[in-house]
Amino acid sequence: MSVVAQAQESHLETFARFEEGAAGSDLGWLRSIRRSAMARFSELGFPTTHDEDWRFTNVAPIAETPFGLARVGGVEFTSRELDRLRVPGFASIRLVFVNGRYEPKLSRLGPLPAGVKVGSLAHELAADPGSLDEHLARYADYRNDAFSALNTAFIEDGALVRIPSRTVLEEPIYLLHISAPGTGPTVTHPRNLIVAGDETQATVVEDYVSLDGEVHFSNVVTEVVVGENSVLGHYRIERESGQAFHVSTLRVEQGRASAVASHSLLLGGALVRNNVHPVLAGEGSDCLINGLFMGAGQQHLDNYMKVEHASPHCTSRQFYNGILDGRSRGVFHGRIVVHKDAQKTDAKQTNRNLLLSEGAQIDTKPQLEIHADDVKCTHGATIGQVDEDAIFYLRSRGISEASARDLLLEAFAGESLEKMKEEPVRRHLEGLVRQWLRRETVLEGAR
C-alpha cells in the first residue's frame, strides 16, 4: 500500500471508532450523513495538483500523514495563558475550543438577547438535536470536496450560533480554537454552524491558534445561513504554528437583501487553504470578501474563492492582498460563477501582491463562469515589489530605510485592514501585522 493509501486507511479506521461513541450517534439522519461523507471521502481521496481547483497547492504533506484524532481533555489552561492566546476585547461572548472540543470553563456566554443560542454543537446534538438537521451539512459540498467530506464524517463539535429573526447582537461572538498537539500527528475537524434569521445583525470571529509541538491539522468547516435583510460579519484569523496544516471552508448561504462581509487574515501555518464560498441565493444580496495573507519562510498560503451569484441584482466585491517573503508561496484563485438567472450581477475581484524576496512566489488566477447575459464582472491582479521610488522619497525626508519599508508594507496591508469594521478586531490585527513586519513571532508557542 502506498503512503497515501495507508494514511487514508487510517482516517477510515479512526472513523469506525469515532462513530460509535460520538455525540449524536443515535440520530439516524446524522449517522447517515457521517457515513455517506466518509464513503465519499474514500472515493474522492485527497486532491492532487491534477485537480484544477488544487493546481497550485500540493496537499501531499497532509495526504501522506497518518493523523490520529487530537486528544480531548487533559490540557489545562490558566486564565493567564488563555489571555495570552486570545484576541483581547471580547469580554462577553467567547467560546473556547481545545483540540476541537468545547471548554465551558474557559468560555463565557452572555448576556445574550432573548432567543439567541450560542454554544457547543456537540452539546446541542446530545440535548436538543431536533432543529439541527434542517441546516447542518446542507450547504458545504461534501460530495465533491474531500476535505469537507472528511470534516462532515467527523462532525461532532464546534460552535453553534442561532439568532432568531429581528435580533441584533451588539457584541461579536468570538470563537477561539486552540490546537494543543500531542505526541504524534493529530487532526481536528471543527464544525461551526451559524444560522441567522431575517432582519438580524451579528459578527462572528473565528480565531485559530496552536501551541508549539508536533504536526497537527485543523480541518474546519463553517456553514453560515443568513436570512433576509440581515447583516453578518465573519472574520477568520489563522495564526497557528509553523507545524500546522490548516484547511478551512466558509460556506455562506445568503438570503434576499442580505449583506455579508467575510474577512480573512492568514499569518500562520505551514500549509493553509482558505476556501470562501458564498452563495448569493436571495435577490439583491451583497457580499464583501476581503483578505490579507502574509507568508514567510516556507509557508504555503492558498486562498480559493468561489463566489456564486444565483439570483439577480446581487453585488460581490473581492479584495485580497498578499505579502510574501522568504521562500513562501501564495495562491489566489478567484472564481466568480454567475447562474443563468442572475441578471444584473455586479461582481468585482481585485488581488494585489507584494513579493519581498526573490524566492517568494504567487499564483493568481481569476476564473469567471458567466451564464447570464446582463452582468458586470471585472477582475484585476497585480504582482510587484515594494516601490523603491517611494522608499527613496521617504528616506529623503529623514525616515530610515527600515521605517520606510514598514510604512509602505503597513499601508499595503492597511488596504485590507481598513475594510474590517469591527474595531477591536481590526486594531488587534493591525498589531499582529506590525509584529509580522518586524519579524517577531506572531505564532503562539512555547508554553
Binding site: 517611494a390 527613496f392 522619497y393 521617504l394 528616506r395 529623503s396 525626508r397 529623514g398
Partner: protein
C-alpha cells in the same frame, strides 16, 4: 556650505555628469539652469542620495563632511532637502502622519523633543497658511491623486516644515500657474536666511523673477559651461541655451 568637485556620475552605464564643479555658500540662492536632459535632476538626486546613480569620480563636501558617504536619511537629518521634480505618490500613508514622522526623525537627530500630533497641528497649520493650502490635504495620502501643481506646492510645504539648511528645488516652478508660482516663490523667499543655502534648478527664468538668485550656473551636457550673476539668466532667456553651448569660451567665468 556645499562644494562639488569634479563630479562624474553614471546612470545605466552612461556618463551623465562629466566633471561638475559647484560652490554654494551659506545664505546664497543659486540657480542651475540648463536644457532638457543636461543632467540637472541627476545632480539634484545625487546630492539627495539616490543610489541608482553611480558616482564614478569627484567629491561632494557639505559643511565640511563627505556628503557621498551619508545615506539619504542621514543627509536629510543633516539638513539636506530635495523638492522632487516628480514627487512620488504613496497610497495609504497620510500626509500629516508622514510630515510629522519626517520632522520627528530630523528633530530627534538634532537632539530635540519629538512632537506629538497635538503639538504638530498648529505648526503645520501655520505652514499651510503660508502656502495658501487647504487643511484637507493633511488627511490625504502622500501626493495621491494630487494635481501637478498640488504636488509641487506640497514639496514646498515639506520644505517649510522641515526647515533644511540646504534646499534643492528641482523644477518646482514647472506646471504652476502664475498665482501658484507667486505663492511658492513667497514661501521660498520666506525661508531665505543667512544660515541657509537654496539651489533652484530650473529650465526657465520665470521663477527667477520672483526668487532672485545670487548666482546662476548653466549646465549643458553634464558640465557647468557658464556661471554668473542674475543677469546671466536674463541673457539665457533672450539668447537661448544655444548661445552657451556654441560659445563656451565667451561664457562668463565662474565666480571665485
Amino acid at each position: 556650505m556645499l562644494s562639488v568637485r569634479n563630479l562624474h556620475v553614471k546612470v545605466g552605464g552612461r556618463e551623465i555628469l562629466k566633471g561638475v564643479d559647484l560652490e554654494v555658500a551659506a545664505g546664497e540662492v543659486c540657480a542651475i539652469m540648463g536644457p532638457n536632459g543636461s543632467g540637472k535632476s541627476t545632480l539634484a538626486q545625487v546630492l539627495a542620495g539616490q543610489e541608482t546613480y553611480e558616482v564614478t569620480a569627484g567629491e561632494v563636501l557639505y559643511e565640511g563632511q563627505n556628503l557621498l558617504e551619508l545615506n539619504p536619511e542621514q543627509r536629510a537629518r543633516e539638513g539636506v532637502f530635495l523638492a522632487f521634480q516628480y514627487p512620488v505618490e504613496i497610497p495609504g500613508i497620510g500626509t500629516a502622519y508622514f510630515l510629522r514622522a519626517a520632522l520627528n526623525a530630523i528633530r530627534k537627530h538634532r537632539g530635540l523633543d519629538e512632537l506629538d500630533a497635538m503639538d504638530f497641528l498648529p505648526l503645520i497649520r501655520e505652514k499651510l497658511k503660508l502656502l495658501e493650502m487647504d487643511d484637507a490635504l493633511l488627511s490625504r495620502a502622500i501626493n495621491e491623486g494630487f494635481s501637478g501643481g498640488e504636488k509641487k506646492r506640497t514639496e514646498i510645504l515639506q520644505l517649510a516644515v522641515l526647515e533644511p539648511r540646504l534646499a534643492i528645488l528641482d523644477e518646482t516652478d514647472s506646471g504652476l500657474d502664475i498665482d501658484a508660482l507667486k505663492i511658492v516663490a513667497g514661501g521660498v523667499n520666506a525661508l531665505r536666511d543667512p544660515e541657509r543655502a537654496i539651489i533652484i534648478v530650473t529650465h526657465y527664468q520665470r521663477l527667477l523673477s520672483y526668487i532672485v538668485p545670487d548666482t546662476v550656473h548653466v549646465l549643458v551636457a553634464g558640465r557647468i559651461v557658464a556661471s554668473g550673476g542674475r543677469e546671466l539668466a536674463l541673457e539665457l532667456e533672450e539668447k537661448g541655451y544655444g548661445w552657451v553651448e556654441t560659445e563656451p569660451e565667451s561664457a562668463v567665468p565662474a565666480p571665485a
